[in-house]
Amino acid sequence: MSAVTKKDTSLSSSFLDSFYAQKPSGLFAGLREEAAKLLTHKGLPSAKDEEYKFTPITKKIEGNISRFGHSSPFDIDRTELEKHLVEGLDAHLLVLNNGFYDKNLSTEMPKGVRITSLKDLGDDANKIAKIVTAEKDPYAGLNQLAFQAGVFVSLDDKLVLDKPVLILHLAKSDEKGQTIHPRIYIETGKFVEATFIEQTIAVDDQVYFINSVEEIKVGEGAHIHHYKIQDENKQTLELSNTGVDVPKDATFTSFVLSLQSQMTRNNLSLNLLDSNCEGNMYGIYLLNGKSHVDNHTNVDHTKPHAESNELYKGILTDSSRGVFNGKIFVRQDAQKTNAFQQNNNILLSEDAIVNTKPQLEIWADDVKCSHGCTTGQLDDEALFYLRSRGISKENARALLLYAFAGEVLEKIENETFRKYCIQLVQERLGSKGG
């Protein structure tokens, strides 16, 4: 069973070969060794793997990318960079260039924010790979084997950031393709209030595979918002593993807007570690062409009186595909849990597909859990009602679709960023309607 299959020979074994050929020493040697063992044993997921049965990303990567190996940063100047930034967004800039922390392109951080390249870490190095482990997901394992110079971000107690931190991943490739393994660790002190916006910028149209791991350790009583825009190029292959520890009295809110890629898989996992904490997971995917987006989320309620809210909405057209899998795990101790989950989809074409699945595992008896998923077409009666008042078919469609997505956009607290997302969504819905 452990035989390495032909399929993943190129991707996992190329990284494994170079690992075994020259075992790295230094800070993360142990982690890499562990990841290498797991990968050698299990390989990367195929379509037979239950967790990846709708999302054959390994096959896609191997079919699209002919050169595997470590990426390296590329030259890009500030003017070029600024072309890609969210207009009007006043933010502290943290740049990862093909996975490498780029200090020159990043802006100076305010007092209380410390950023360290992973390769320069001291004692903090042993925090890496504690929240997102190689066992959890084979691609997290691949990242653990192959990541290079990511960042460690730490925010001091009681820090209230007036501006968001924009984490910008720059991705550049060539005809052979590129594999990029960003690695981010964020820890916040107690009572920190901060917003992180994460965006990947494809600087050209070449194919790349970006396989990120992000670990976030929220401080007690902290309020953290984490927003992500996935609007890359049509060839982009993306895998993200985000793991978050949410302690007592803390709130963590995630929002993911997926607009363009070839295939994207997001694994988002919130560990609600104590009482009175809150985890929110919101997402919108607007897909066209052949693009494929898979959101796998997981919230783990471990103690009483915690709350989770989840709302993902999708609008799909052409022959795009959406996958949603939402796990809610309520442990025996976690009485008085409130957990809500919704996934709603609108299909605008016959060839678009959504696979949606809630997975509830509830071991406590005094909990409030609700979940629902719907997949339907645009409401014809509503469309006719609007048109009967003189509104054109296109405008009526856009109004209805925007209203559908708008419920999620309202969850974004940062105003400039919300407006930017609204604009992106309206542009998409107004023109091609999905």
Binding site: D379, A382, L386, R387
Partner: protein, 253 residues
């Protein structure tokens, strides 16, 4: 203003309208009555352009144009308005935003300047008084969570805003208490002019005390089987539809 000739329409292959003839002139009010399922809403929907219905025969001329050739939005822009029997709830679309979009698309079609926010607001305020509709309702999503009566009132409010030439009210009175009914009727009457015409679909003569029709038609099994003046409505209230059904049966033999 409106001429319907031998109109046949079906849905999913089932014929519902089976030869409607009707002539409506500016300034007139026509009441259409008839038992449940006789095709009243179908007629209203076909006039408004609902695409699920297939017109299999006949024609409809509105202001000299082939109405059936126009899209639903163009019919509205040409002045046709349908107050729905069951107004649709549309979560997430604010009433104000919806109405402003509608008004300005209609104006654009007519070659008029769009209304700016201030002008639109004052138009809203004026018409809100007319139908005594609460501002709070309009700040919510369109019809969402509205009571039956509130939905009907909102239909008349939209009608007032859009100022149509031909209004079709499909059971706008059903379920209204007498006060609400008076408000609705009052709104309709105030909007009435010698250039406008109205079709009122109703089951109840009660409404016709307030909106006095020039003609009353009975629709039965997809045809207008009897027409008269307002006294026909009183007779129907008194005697029900059986005598008409009998008449139809007898003439058919």
């Amino acid at each position: 203003m409106l001429t319907i000739k031998n109109l046949h329409a079906s849905i999913e292959g089932t014929p519902i309208l089976r030869g409607i003839n009707l002539e409506i002139k500016p300034g007139e009010i026509h009441a259409i009555m008839g038992p449940n399922g006789s095709g009243k809403s179908t007629l209203a929907s076909v006039l408004a352009g609902r695409e699920e219905y297939e017109v299999t025969e006949g024609e409809v001329i509105y202001k000299g144009k082939d109405l059936l050739d126009l899209s639903p939005e163009d019919r509205a822009r040409e002045g046709v308005f349908l107050a729905f029997q069951y107004p649709v709830e549309i979560p997430g679309v604010s009433s104000t935003n919806f109405l402003r979009t509608a008004v300005n698309q209609v104006r654009e079609y007519r070659g008029q300047e769009p209304l700016d926010a201030v002008k639109f607001l004052s138009l809203m305020k004026e018409k809100m008084k007319l139908v005594e509709i609460d501002q709070k309702l309009l700040s919510r999503s369109l019809n969402e969570g509205f009571s039956g009566g509130e939905k009907k009132r909102n239909e008349i409010f939209q009608m007032a805003i859009l100022d149509p030439a031909l209004s079709i009210l499909d059971e706008t009175d059903s379920g209204l208490d007498i006060d609400a009914l008076k408000v609705v009727a009052n709104g309709v009457n105030q909007l009435r002019s010698s250039d406008n015409a109205t079709i009122v679909v109703t089951h109840y003569q009660r409404l016709l005390d307030y909106i006095v029709p020039d003609f009353v038609h009975v629709l039965f099994e997809g045809r207008i089987v009897k027409s008269g003046d307002k006294s026909l409505a009183l007779e129907l209230e008194d005697k029900g539809y059986d005598w008409i059904k009998d008449e139809v049966a007898n003439t058919a033999v």
